[in-house]
Symmetry: C2
């Protein structure tokens, strides 16, 4: 008997028929003698519908009240899922974030989980109930409803698995696992039986949409065994996300590169002709952070004339805001010659734990892109990842040639 947390995303609970499918799958696991906690998202489309309603009465909705509204999406799904289980004769009970007491900070619409009270869930599991928990939501210390931000249901699943010391956290989605890259771009992309947390983290943060990055961080931190599976197929073991140590013995023959991630969500901000003095990076990025704008890649290049060029990327939606902040609060102070933005870029990354012990990955990547005439605008590296920014029109081409160059189509 194991304790399993199963998380089902919006497409897996999109309508009553799919919710009945979820109930049938849960019933099969229950019949094997497992204890099950089910975490569900809102039915796909519901959250956007609620946000649109909010915007009809207030152009920029107050975040506390927005959370009150959008948290109802998951609340409907937990009730329906519990009912669908009962219809199959299974004891089930739903929990909102408030009812579990998934305690978060008070950052409405992007709250972070601080603590989970597992007492009631444990009691109900021991009494034979399937516990159906609303993903994406929590409650602050004053009883205000909070939400965790997009993809937060994954985080709820992993956090519950950690709090309950579950044997496995299964993330059901509309794909049957983690692939070497997006099969819509490279038809030869191959499903990985397993991948390490570090690689998954890089893939997630580099734009692979399978798992939300915070949930992967959470799983790594609390050593939660995570598995990505399809909710539309009854067969298959999906992709297991392992700790590097666990899989060391088999690693000798593992490929150096696990996958290629890409995204088109970022924009580049270029600050030209900045005096090359200590404190410049802070003077530029401090006001950006104060404006609550997330920065991803940062590059500084010193020229010969005592000035330096400073480039960084932000989410496309925030390019306008970032440019305004820089022109208002920064340009004058630091005497920058020019500030400009470019949102016609894409980021492509190769990720692999084997990179640590293999040289030449970067040069192979750069050569492959050069052979196709693709210019590299920015480069950023970590221990297990090399990311480049290129013109967005070459993105698919870059992904395809890199997938082939690193022989990812072969098992």
């Amino acid at each position: 008997m194991a304790l399993i947390v199963q998380k089902y995303g919006g497409t897996s609970v999109a309508n009553p028929e799919r919710i009945r499918n979820v109930a049938r799958r849960v019933a099969r696991y229950k019949a094997m003698g497992h204890q099950i906690v089910v975490v569900v998202s809102a039915m796909s489309g519901e959250t956007n519908k609620l946000i649109a309603l909010a915007k009809e009465v207030m152009a920029e909705p107050d975040p506390r009240e927005l959370d009150v509204m959008i948290s109802t999406g998951e609340q409907v799904t937990i009730g329906m899922t519990a009912l669908a289980l009962m219809e199959l004769g299974i004891k089930a009970k739903s929990y909102t974030g408030t009812q579990v007491k998934i305690l978060t900070d008070d950052s409405h619409t992007k709250a972070r989980i601080l603590d989970i009270d597992e007492y009631n869930l444990k009691q109900d599991l021991n009494d034979g109930y399937v516990c159906v928990v609303a993903g994406f939501q929590g409650v602050d210390e004053f009883g205000n409803i909070t939400t965790l931000g997009r993809g937060g249901s994954d985080t709820t699943g992993v956090a519950l698995a950690a709090a309950l010391k579950a044997d496995e956290c299964q993330i059901y989605t509309d794909v049957d696992g983690v692939y070497t890259t997006d099969p819509r771009v490279v038809p030869e992309a191959r499903r990985l039986d397993k991948i390490t947390f570090e690689e998954m983290l890089e893939l997630a943060s580099q734009g692979s949409k399978v798992l939300q990055i915070r949930s992967v961080e959470f799983a790594g931190k609390y050593k939660v065994k995570l598995r990505v599976l399809s909710s539309f197929e009854d067969e298959g073991d999906g992709t297991l996300i392992t700790f590097e140590e666990d899989s060391k013995e088999n690693d000798m023959e593992d490929p150096i590169i696990s996958g290629i991630a890409f995204n088109r969500d970022e924009a580049k901000i270029i600050v030209l002709g900045v005096p090359d003095k200590p404190g410049i990076a802070y003077q530029i990025l401090g006001p950006i952070a104060d404006a609550n704008i997330d920065v991803d890649m940062i590059i500084q290049n010193t020229g010969a004339d005592g000035t330096t060029d400073f480039t960084f990327t932000v989410h496309k939606n925030e390019m306008g805001k970032a440019l305004a902040v820089l022109r208002e609060k920064v340009q004058g102070h630091i005497n920058a010659r020019e500030i400009s933005g470019d949102d016609k870029i894409a980021k492509v990354s190769v990720v692999g734990i084997g990179m640590r012990s293999h040289v030449g990955i970067a040069s192979q990547m750069f050569r492959t892109l050069a052979e196709e005439g693709i210019n590299i605008q920015m480069i950023s590296t970590s221990e297990i990842k090399i990311a480049v920014v290129i013109d967005e029109k070459y993105m698919e081409l870059a992904v395809r040639v890199l997938h082939k160059a690193f022989e990812l189509e072969e098992a």
Copy 2:
């Protein structure tokens, strides 16, 4: 400065435009210096939509989970209403039943309010907030979400007014007050400037749809000043529901009859040829109560042959269930000759506090019906009401001739 509770029903908050209207009305009261608590229902249609969703996954939805689902209807509206107020620059904060702590018993889908914690609301009101509270819902002592049953938002409004010792509880609806009878049946029907609680209670329980009966009981018990108004008109004082004592001085010239109520929601159950022995009423109605079926009128007539006929009314929807209970569990025991049901009936009542001091109301009512050839099947009376059951096809006719006979069209 007064403390006013304003309750808006489903049609008053049916869409974003109407919610903006509600916000504008609240803003006007706020500008007069009043403290305002707003209670809102779900947008009209939402509750039924959620019930339909529940039934798609479980034929007879578990009441606990049904409450989890349907309580989201009001939760969406409180968020939207608070946002609409903020858009007008008014400080506002929403509260679910759980957040206020509207403590109820655990009778899911028809819970009763046990207590209201007014502390946080008082704090927020004193800090200048408009508090927007979800109607219809509460929470039991274990944190389970409960709902109060249809029309429960009125009860929430009145209970909050009682707990907060509000100066007035305003019920906004799609009519502009309480009428002598339904204007759709009698175009000459007249709006009453005021009506006593006792009369309102009889009108409500006799089928007038303006206010939910439990909210009127609540208002009477806690001496809450209640006013019914239209949310679609900016003018008019609606109908004030008074305590008899308050209005004694002006009562001399008040009409004897205040209004005529009617409904088509009941069915008649007839148990023929029952032995005329002590305990028979209990033997018949005990199993009905055990099956949780509400009984309205009860009539017993003893014949000459040592047997008696026993007739009572239940809601139309429960006639089948009531007949099954009687045939299974009662008929054999009490040796009843025949058990039958009739759902082609209507109940028509004349209501008026003046009846207490005036004789002849009953005979005038019976004569009026007789002159139209309308047969009376059952009669039931209280101190301020006479109700009759007739064939449903004569209902409108009966209401019209009674309205005229008691001169209700005249002020």
